[in-house]
Symmetry: C2
Subunit: 346 residues, 2 copies
DNA sequence: ATATTCACCGAAATCGATTTCGGTGACTAT
DNA sequence: ATAGTCACCGAAATCGATTTCGGTGAATAT
């Protein structure tokens, strides 16, 4: 099972390896006749250039690395899909790794990708990452890096994010527009930037619409799971807080809370309106269906790859890379866990 | 920004490249002192061997390819995660591609992976793949291939699957054990092996328990989506068939049907029991929660990689590869869309 | 007849790491 | 003193594709 190499093609045709190579690459100093023969034989033998040799010579692998905190996750899976599709379109393949929200793992993954000489890296920071030197190092050493979704303002590189503050503002405003006066917020720990931003959006929306921000209406969970949402609903009920609206950091939290509130006799949305975040598939099949904020993962993935692709190309051409921050649009999706918007009287 | 190569290390230490290489690889014919110096300097300069050069020389990339029909999909995402985790454990990275259930794309993806000289390929056939020559070719040319989930009996290679027939049998039997007498089946077109096997399991369970198989209780949908489930529920209702049990090919179909049936006044499970398939996350949050068959994706991914890994190793050692078929266990998960099991009188 | 141009082709270096095989010098055995 | 042993090291080939740079022979120009 000997592989077909240029050398073999050259031998068969009685020409040199150089000529064979140039024939396939359409160099002008090779006769049409020779080109024809080389190409015909290459096709015949199903010649495939050895990618290692090419990469070694050309110093590029046409492979990028993609690190996500989690793969079994509707939003991240959508992003990954967007990245892979766009990458394939441009002739790149994608090695995917998951940090599992661990800083140590994230560092290790990064090394693995560098060792494989990927042409660039897309990474979403783990929630537990608080030091960014490992990323800064990679950038400094010259490998293009683009951050998506979970980013840090401290890192100088291109980024793709949603405008969390605006998205949360819109979501909260929607609850207000539908008549809610006492809106609670469920979120995780205030570490990741997204958590901070959505929290700010929530607060700003309250303020801008004459509602007082009350600390006792903010409920923090350890994680962002369905179970945490379920449990925090009990906490909310038992706290005695009288609320008529609930804006959760994720659909999962919202769904967990909604299920528990319903179990305890609360009518959604009549007693309490609930707004999730992300527009996961599950929001369409809960009872009632969950109002949420659409976060276009696929598009984010595409955009992230495009930024990375540009950096890679610019690097090859030795052109200066300009860092860019793309904010993709979000949209409130009104479903049945919120009341209809109150039409203001003209 | 010159890269650190063995050559540079050798130059600095005044030794040859060969010696440097052997020092790092702990060859016995290099003195302890030299090894110490080389290693110290390598660490100092953060030397990373050029993976292309290594791959070119050693004829292995330590990268495998993974083709799935879809990534934004709980089950496949779980498998992918299992593969990636296990692969990383063994020093392999994974390039993921998605066929989007297209035969043409699947063929193209396969070529892309071969061009990148991956050490092996894991693939789940697209539903529209009816010719297997492209896979057989790869196997014949010597690249290890392992099929998972969507397989073909016509291909001679290792496979990881669930025992669909048994799983469907168990699911149907569960419905029977809970008192159902007229059990309908919703499924997609009879192309993929899984569809055939689950259908057979359903039929066998009916037969073994004295229930007549009736063709008019089998409903075929074009796709396997939530929407198709929703629509087919209308078809079922309008067909006038009197059923008290429903076994769907997937959780999505089951959920869609359940929502529609509920909308039309059917009580689940009192009027009709519903059983899904796959144990996706969403089954825990539907109303009522959906009984289903657990299909351990993560474990399948792990097993699939292990099989592939063994083949790769055996290939390196020129040992004969024995094809193996692993069937991972499934389990009926009883939730609230089915009635409790009727206890037989002793 | 010599110079110039042009169309083609190939030797060889290069990318980095690996590995075989043949050294060299020091030391021991006889 | 000579052969033999041992510890250690390096030149060079190899993996396969790319690309520079220097050819060669034929045709054209003067």
């Amino acid at each position: 099972m000997t592989n077909i190499t240029l050398k073999r093609i050259a031998e068969i045709l009685g020409i040199s390896v150089a000529t064979a190579s140039k024939a396939l690459k359409d160099y002008p100093d090779i006769s049409k006749e020779t080109k024809r023969k080389v190409r015909a034989l290459a096709k015949d033998l199903d010649y495939k250039p050895n990618s290692f040799a090419q990469s070694l010579r050309n110093r590029e692998s046409c492979i990028i690395g993609l690190i996500a905190p989690e793969i079994v996750h509707h939003f991240f899976a959508s992003i990954i899909k967007g990245v892979i599709d766009k990458a394939e379109e441009k002739g790149y393949l994608v090695i995917t790794l998951q940090s599992g929200e661990s800083y140590e793992t994230e560092k290790k993954q990064l090394q693995l990708l560098l060792e494989k000489n990927v042409d660039g890296i897309l990474i979403s920071l783990s929630d537990r990452t608080i030091n960014y030197d490992h990323i800064a190092d990679v950038i400094e050493k010259g490998t293009p890096v683009v951050l998506y979704d979970k980013i840090s303002k401290l890192l100088e590189c291109s980024k793709v994010i949603i405008d969390d503050r605006k998205a949360a503002y819109d979501a909260t405003k929607y609850l207000i527009d539908t008549g809610c006066k006492n809106i609670a917020h469920i979120r995780g720990p205030l570490k990741p930037q997204t958590t901070i931003d959505r929290f700010m959006g929530y607060k700003n929306a309250l303020k801008d619409h004459g509602l007082e921000f009350r600390d006792e209406l903010v409920f923090e969970t350890k994680n962002l799971t369905y179970e945490d949402g379920y449990e925090v609903a009990d906490t909310i009920m038992d706290s005695g807080a009288e609320i008529d609206g609930l804006f959760a950091f994720t659909d999962l939290l919202a769904t967990g809370a909604m299920v528990r509130l319903t179990e305890r006799g609360i009518k959604v949305p009549d007693d309490i309106s609930i707004m999730g975040f992300s527009n996961w598939f599950l929001t369409r099949i809960t009872t009632p269906t969950l109002s949420t904020v659409d976060q276009p993962g696929y598009e984010m993935g595409e955009k992230a790859f495009e930024l990375l692709y540009n950096e890679i190309q610019n690097k090859k051409l030795k052109k200066p890379v300009q860092k860019e921050i793309i904010r993709v649009r979000t949209e409130v999706i009104a479903r049945n866990s919120t009341k209809p918007v109150i039409v203001k009287k003209g």
